[in-house]
């Protein structure tokens, strides 16, 4: 089964149709997706700024990771749930949207960066926990995280615009990246 056929089937399920046509639930899901950005990305950004030595320098890094990360993860869970619901409301379009595709790839990279930080330089955090100066590898992790998440937010916002949708003529490169096929015409 092609991606188009699968997403087409998904889009024709009762749940997808109900969500797409709902006057209240859809905007509420979208609002949840936007506002959890504050809980999740806001706190992640504050942690990244600490790693860069730009904020909360008097707070030990372990304190920030232990006390703020659970809240950020809670926000991330809400963000993912609302995001999955948004995808479920129009799977054909999302699955063939270059910004959505970029967002998924960048999410994997952001996850890998976080994993590398927690299994790498963070293991030796006792050496630099209270320091105003953080190690270079911690700074790189913080900067990468900020850049990746910022690009994810921008790409997410761009999904709302239909400039590169498959249902109209696109440059060859967009057709390839978005996986457009004859099914759209």
């Amino acid at each position: 089964m092609t991606l188009f056929r699968f997403t087409e089937w998904l889009q024709n399920t009762d749940g997808s149709t109900a969500l797409r046509e709902s006057i209240l639930v859809y905007p509420l899901v979208e609002t949840t997706h936007v506002l959890t950005l504050t809980l999740f990305l806001g706190l992640i950004a504050m942690m990244d700024l600490r790693l860069l030595g730009l904020a909360m320098r008097q707070v030990p890094v372990t304190d920030i990771v232990r006390r703020l990360l659970p809240w950020a993860i809670g926000g991330f869970v809400l963000s993912v749930i609302s995001g999955v619901l948004l995808f479920y409301s129009s799977p054909v379009r999302f699955a063939h949207n270059i910004f959505f595709r970029y967002k998924l790839i960048a999410l994997v990279f952001a996850g890998a960066n976080a994993w590398a930080f927690h299994t790498g330089i963070y293991r030796k955090v006792t050496d630099w926990d209270r320091g105003l100066l953080t190690p270079r590898r911690a700074k790189i992790a913080g900067a990468l995280s900020l850049a990746l998440w910022a690009s994810i937010v921008v790409a997410g916002r761009m999904i709302a615009y239909n400039w590169f949708d498959c249902d109209k003529p696109q440059p060859a490169i967009v057709n390839v990246l978005a996986g457009c096929s004859g099914d759209f015409r």
């Binding site: 905007p27 979208e30 609002t31 936007v34 506002l35 950005l37 504050t38 809980l39 990305l41 806001g42 706190l43 992640i44 950004a45 504050m46 700024l49 904020a55 909360m56 320098r57 008097q58 707070v59 304190d63 920030i64 006390r67 703020l68 809240w71 998440w149 910022a150 937010v153 921008v154 916002r157 761009m158 709302a160 615009y161 400039w163």
Partner: protein, 157 residues
């Protein structure tokens, strides 16, 4: 009464430029969203602490002082990009109930944040009981949540 002002805003060169451009509105919107994440983080760090829900072993005042420039900076980004978005669709905003709710809440939220909240956050914790911190954090979160929520609904109504 305010409609002529909104009409004037809509007719400004900046408003027109944003309206006529294909990519300016989306780009400004994106920066507005990045500012949202940042201001959310700057508010939450202190509000969660005031609530006693995170960073309990840290004194409030230095934390609030340290985060303050990020709060002011992100608010400046929000206001600048928000005004630009507003100029591009002022008349639509005039007839949008969520827009008015947002502006009223925003005014109260800003006043509250830079007066009561700041005073309590910087106060001597032994002198001001934790109940005040909790109350201030609750009001702050409720106000700013209202601003964000009604802001998103400008798109719907």
């Amino acid at each position: 009464m305010l409609l002529p002002l909104f009409e004037w805003c809509e007719a400004t060169a900046l408003g027109q430029a944003i309206r006529e451009s294909l990519w300016l509105f989306p780009v400004i919107e994106s920066i507005h969203l990045l500012g949202l994440a940042m201001i959310g983080g700057a508010l939450l760090v202190v509000d969660l602490r005031l609530f006693g829900l995170a960073l309990r072993q840290q004194p409030v005042a230095p934390l609030a002082r340290d985060v303050h420039p990020w709060l002011v900076g992100s608010l400046a980004v929000m206001l600048t990009t928000g005004i630009m978005l507003f100029l591009s669709e002022s008349i639509r905003c005039y007839y949008s109930p969520p827009f008015w709710t947002k502006m009223e809440l925003l005014l109260v939220a800003i006043l509250f944040t830079f007066t009561v909240r700041r005073k309590v956050a910087l106060a001597d914790e032994k002198r001001v009981g934790p109940i005040w911190g909790r109350l201030v954090a609750f009001v702050s979160l409720a106000l700013w949540f209202g601003v964000g929520f009604s802001g998103r609904w400008i798109a719907f109504y």
